[in-house]
Amino acid sequence: MHKMENLLSIAIGAILINNIVLTKFLGLCPFFGVSTRMRNAATMGFAVIFVMTASSILTWLIYECLLIPLHIEYMRIVTFILLIASFVQLVEMFIRKTSPELHRAFGIYLPLITTNCAILGVALINTTVEGYSLPAATVNGVATGIGFLLALILMAGIRERLELADPPRTFSGLPLAFVSAALLALAFQGFSGMAI
């Protein structure tokens, strides 16, 4: 029972309290790049949840079963980035063969995910920073992905509305997106200090 509560607090923490985008500043490129349309934002968000969960499990296994027994923990950066890049490539090839429809929807987002620092960031948090167990690392991967989806959808909603607004010309586009993100981050600050 104690363990379940622990997993729940990791999940709530990753989705709301320490939101990956708005408090940890990871994955900002897709956050600003893909948040102009709600549909694209949702697709990207789901692709990230999938890759983040799978890569959390894979990197945890490699770290605990290969790098630690061989005492080559310092190889973690090289190993993780290669693992994530080849995994994403594999998934892309797999869905291209099996489901062309899915490939049309996700195709262009998958290569982008390789350089999404949130994926590598979560892998590093799971293994070296927090030292989670496998279930905890998996939950953290899923929940961080959900937090990313949440932030991306909120931002896309705001930016779709902003298109109808008439801001000063110097602020239109990226500057206004940053100021909106500041207000969103301010709202998320309300969760800080929340304990479960």
Partner: protein, 197 residues
């Protein structure tokens, strides 16, 4: 003109303000000027040496596997700076946290490798990488000066008070996440107004 390869990266093609690349460290570690200095040195090291190596081996690397090769070169250099900072500057290492290993996915570095170093001579690459590094350093130092000044009311670098405390109750929100987004948003708008970005 060769010197142009160096100067273009500072203002005209500034990685952060003109191209909006490398945003994660720009927002995350600019809570103090000291962090920004450490980060810009680490990024400069990785950017310059990785691009030099990539430019030097550009003749041998097959076109199809160039991206994985670039990533391995960059990741090895990041590992070097990671171990170096861990050994020589443990406090800075702790404060930069996972953003030090995450230099490996900083899009500025792979972007320059792909767009410039993989096509040009070693000397041109050195100028280009140095220029981009200076531009990145200036950008994150500018952001960190604003945030530390308003957020903690003073600037402390390596234990020296560069700017003594002058605000009795500083706006703590500036060193919290919202302050980072706000600072960059307003800076981008101002630079656009001035015709720079």
């Amino acid at each position: 003109m060769k010197l142009q390869e160096f100067t273009k990266g500072i203002v005209k093609k500034n990685a952060v303000f003109a191209l909006a690349l490398g945003l994660c460290p720009t927002l995350a570690i600019t809570t103090s000027v000291e962090n920004a200095l450490g980060m810009s040195l680490a990024v400069a090291f990785v950017l310059i040496f990785s691009n030099l190596i990539i430019s030097a081996v550009r003749g041998f690397v097959p076109q199809k596997v160039r991206i994985p090769c670039f990533i391995v070169i960059i990741a090895s250099l990041v590992t070097i700076i990671d171990l170096f900072m861990h050994g020589y500057s443990p406090t800075l290492y702790k404060r930069l946290g996972i953003f030090l290993p995450l230099i490996v996915v900083n899009c500025i570095i792979l972007g320059r490798a792909e767009a410039f170093a993989s096509k040009r001579s070693v000397f041109d690459t050195l100028l280009d990488a140095a220029g981009i590094s200076v531009g990145f350093a200036l950008a994150i130092i500018l952001v960190s000066v604003i945030r530390e000044l308003l957020g903690s009311g003073k600037i402390v670098v390596l234990g020296h008070e560069i700017v003594p405390a002058f605000i009795s109750s500083p706006a703590a929100a500036m060193i919290l996440p919202p302050g980072a987004f706000l600072t960059i948003g307003i800076l981008l708008a101002l630079l656009r107004r001035a015709g720079v970005a």
